[in-house]
Symmetry: C3
Subunit: 198 residues, 3 copies
């Protein structure tokens, strides 16, 4: 079940990376590179930081090939994929929540404290997108999109996992994912915004 969801999240991240490459007018290789980096970059940064080398994604051949296949499909059918904007938004949010929760778990297993766990979870969720943005020549959206609680939702989800994991590991992962998803979706609906400097 979790594995199915991780696949889903990874492939959605791949699709958002490929879409960015299409928008930028990159060539086929560039689109596939952005798909791959977005899909497995966050988890790989976290794996490097906690010392799991090679990163687990590098061993997961079926997943990597599926990422490339997703990139190819987006390259070929991007207008139709772009038309599914709402669906991508929800699935991307689900992927964010899952990756943040599972990344937080890895931080816990590596013996990190609350801040370290929050960092491991958030990086797992947003690190791939940050790499995608930097490679595309853009400032990472998580740094300034005050009206989209993306990295902050991942951060809260990771902290939920930290708080509850000792009591009930699976429940903690579920609650953390849910916290991220709800915070992002209802944050936007309620018009929540991060403060910006005056």
């Amino acid at each position: 079940m979790v594995e199915v969801l991780v696949w889903l999240g990874t492939l959605i991240f791949a699709a958002t990376g490929a879409l960015k490459g299409v928008e930028k007018g990159f060539d086929l290789l560039g689109v596939l590179v952005l798909a791959t980096v977005t899909a497995v970059g966050g988890g790989s940064i976290r794996d490097v930081l906690v010392g799991t080398l090679p990163p687990t994604a590098l061993h997961n051949e079926p997943l990597l090939w599926s990422v490339v296949l997703t990139g190819l499909l987006v390259f070929r059918f991007h207008p139709r994929v772009q038309a599914m904007e709402r669906l991508i938004y929800y699935l991307d949010t689900l992927g964010l929540g899952l990756f943040a929760a599972l990344g937080a778990e890895r931080g816990l297993v590596s013996g990190l404290g609350p801040f370290g766990v929050a960092l491991a979870g958030t990086l797992s969720g947003v690190g791939g997108g940050v790499l995608r943005d930097v490679l595309s020549g853009e400032v990472p959206g998580i740094l300034y999109r005050a009206g989209d609680l993306y990295a902050s939702a991942a951060l809260v989800g990771a902290l939920v996992v930290y708080a509850l994991y000792g009591t009930h590991p699976e429940g903690a992962l579920f609650a953390g994912t849910l916290a991220t998803v709800l915070l992002r979706i209802f944050g936007r609906r309620l018009g929540l915004r991060l403060p910006t400097p005056r």
Copy 2:
């Protein structure tokens, strides 16, 4: 004593990162991300390269929370912090010297030669600032600010540590830090400039 100075250096780096985020108009999360990356990024890059995983900073919860607190204070009181420009300049230079010297020591302990030690020291001192600049969409200042001997001062400090460490470890760290600090401050006063291509 050294630990107090490392805390001071880390928090100053955090403040310069947060200031950059404020200047760029990032949101609260962006400001805190830049504070954290600037404060612990250089040491973490070095730790990844020498294989100390997870990086030591990820385990140092009190330091990490202090970094975030510093970021929050800068976010809230940035005009007053910006007014302390001179003080920040001197403390930032002290932090640079300390991090370069302590990073060089880590390179020595990992069995690196002079170039490797110089790289480990310099990266410890400037790596966080480079990440900060790249995430902010800017070309890293160390690459072109010919009139500010910043990375080159760190490099010289790291080489001083390399040269003297065998004779007297603590003296070497002190001399290396001092070399970086003096070179940066008097370099500017004397109008020293790195050559640029003709």
Copy 3:
């Protein structure tokens, strides 16, 4: 023989990095940083990912000093180096092929599958150039230069190594290098282009 070629490739990469720094008007330190990053960055990223820490290049003092010497020569004599454009093109292609093939071998030894090996090889070949471009404030050329089969040539070379290594390791490295070199050079001559999104 292989070692001589690796030196040659590394120093050519150093020269292309230094040239980029000169073009950008960076100072001497910036030029040397780009030379170093371009020369040893790709192999170091690969070493981090497969867990060889510190990266082997950090231990290779003679190579590192030669990289800096190359950077100094380019800094001083850049008009003459730029005039050797064609020679640099061919040597850079040879370096790309070698690094991709040797990087693929490292991936194989680390137990990666075909995608992981392709990634390890390609990153070894192009990672330094990607870091160079990002630090210079540019979008990495490999993402959009549809008419220059650079990263894709490295990818094909790495896959050739993957396919043949079990039969004849040395032959595989030779064939992989050759595949990259021929694909890049004849790809351009034949006007091969990667597709771009419609």
